[in-house]
Symmetry: C2
Subunit: 276 residues, 2 copies
């Protein structure tokens, strides 16, 4: 069996590669799937990207990202919903059934996490049926608590499930990303909870390395370089019923500064060595 | 009533002040209490510091810090226990009943958080009775999950309580520090749990501001500058039974670059404005 048969490369990991370079390299290296991001897809063209990956025979495991649903201003909320509907349409066009949702942080001047989380639920009640009509599932990604104020007020897998479980499992689920939840002693039980209710919609790997860089966004470590036991997490998530692709999504200035194909080969190798 | 009657300034907040400058400014400004750190105390002299704060009529609300109990190497573990016994003795000499414990991160090359947490429990079983004989309580401080690999594998208040509750409440408790737990939707219940069992041994305030600096250690925000509702947290912790001093502990390069007395005055003012 191809040791990469479950491997999906998230486009951000090798963002220095243009889409044709990425798809060509995936085909040559036997990488069967990619996770895409809206901005580079829009840059290359939505339909052109859909054709490119389809012709290359690649699966699209997810589109990043929808979300940012915590605004209090009515105009901002309306624009956010419109942007999420567009993201859902784009996911459908790209042939992926999973839109990753990064819920959003606290509005400027607000200190009310509870109210922000409720606004996310309100928005999901509008977006989930729209997505379902287009064959797209919304995957709520809990982000590490260090992002709670400025990016995502959903900080644990249990919180994400508390939101998702208000909706049908085929409409709203969660992303299990090792980078965000590895530290949480309740995460293993939450993975089982997500699996039992069919809510695992995406599984992503990144390692935890320190020191964190300023702003902390681009410190996601290459598999094997950090504190997370990738094989243990793969076994945990698969024991919960996950049989889909496993995306490796790294934001890392060091990796972005290198040759993209070399980084893709290294990442595929690390996937086999650390999580194969 | 003096609006600062419950205020304690942690020495680290104004580390640019020598101990005599700090105590003099506290007396002049009506600040009744200080939290001390071992390194500057050792630098000024343990007995000299004890006399200085005693003569100034200041309460010492805590000593930072013991801990770092996760080593696997036997020699390292023995040295850590010895260092913690010394810290306990220093706390007793300084006249504080509370030693703050920062438990320690993962040993180099280890990815086993569960085992590391067990080694902390093993060490506490040795240190807690030693501390109790000297009238000192060990206060386990959960640190923000962004420190889980390199500083403290105890990341939530519930985890800290799971450890503390293995011991008598007058021997081992927890630190409630807003900076580390503000994001956690389970923290309010954990504060109630800690209060109900008499486990709140220290209450510290710092605000959450972004972007985080490289290394993330020195990004603790001045009260009122960030995402945390200080008054809500004070009410929450006092509702759980806390009647002691409230320490403000900020690690912040910007504050350290300014005049220390000015920062102390500002911090006292923010305490009154945001948590008074």
């Amino acid at each position: 069996m191809n040791p990469l048969s479950r491997f999906s490369i998230n486009q951000m990991t090798v963002k220095q590669l243009a889409l044709p370079e990425l798809t060509e390299a995936c085909v040559r290296l036997g990488v069967p799937a990619v996770g895409l991001w809206r901005e580079p897809v829009a840059e290359y063209g939505l339909d052109a990207t859909a054709k490119l990956v389809r012709d290359a025979g690649l699966s699209v495991t997810s589109l990043c990202r929808g979300g940012f649903l915590t605004a209090t201003d009515e105009g901002d909320r309306a624009r956010a919903l419109e942007d999420n509907r567009a993201a859902i349409d784009e996911a459908a066009t790209l042939g992926t059934d999973t839109l990753v949702m990064v819920s959003g942080g606290l509005p400027v001047g607000s200190r009310d996490l509870v109210a922000a989380r409720e606004r996310i639920a309100d928005a999901l009640s509008v977006l989930a049926p729209y997505a379902a009509e287009r064959g797209v599932r919304l995957a709520i990604e809990p982000l590490h608590p260090m992002f709670a104020s400025d990016r995502c007020v959903v900080s644990t897998l249990d919180q994400a499930l508390d939101l998702a479980e208000r909706f049908p499992a085929d409409q709203v689920g969660v992303v299990v990303d090792t980078y965000h939840i590895w530290w949480d002693d309740r995460a293993p039980a939450a993975v089982a909870r997500a699996g039992a209710t069919g809510r695992i919609h995406s599984f992503q790997l990144a390692d935890w390395t320190t020191p964190l860089p300023a702003g902390v966004l681009n410190g996601r470590g290459q598999l094997g370089d950090g504190a997370i036991d990738m094989r243990e997490w793969r076994e945990r998530v698969e024991s919960a019923g996950w049989t889909g692709f496993i995306e490796v999504e790294l934001f890392n200035d060091g990796l972005w500064a290198r040759d993209g194909v070399e980084v893709l080969e290294e990442t595929a190798g690390r996937f086999v060595d650390c999580a194969g």
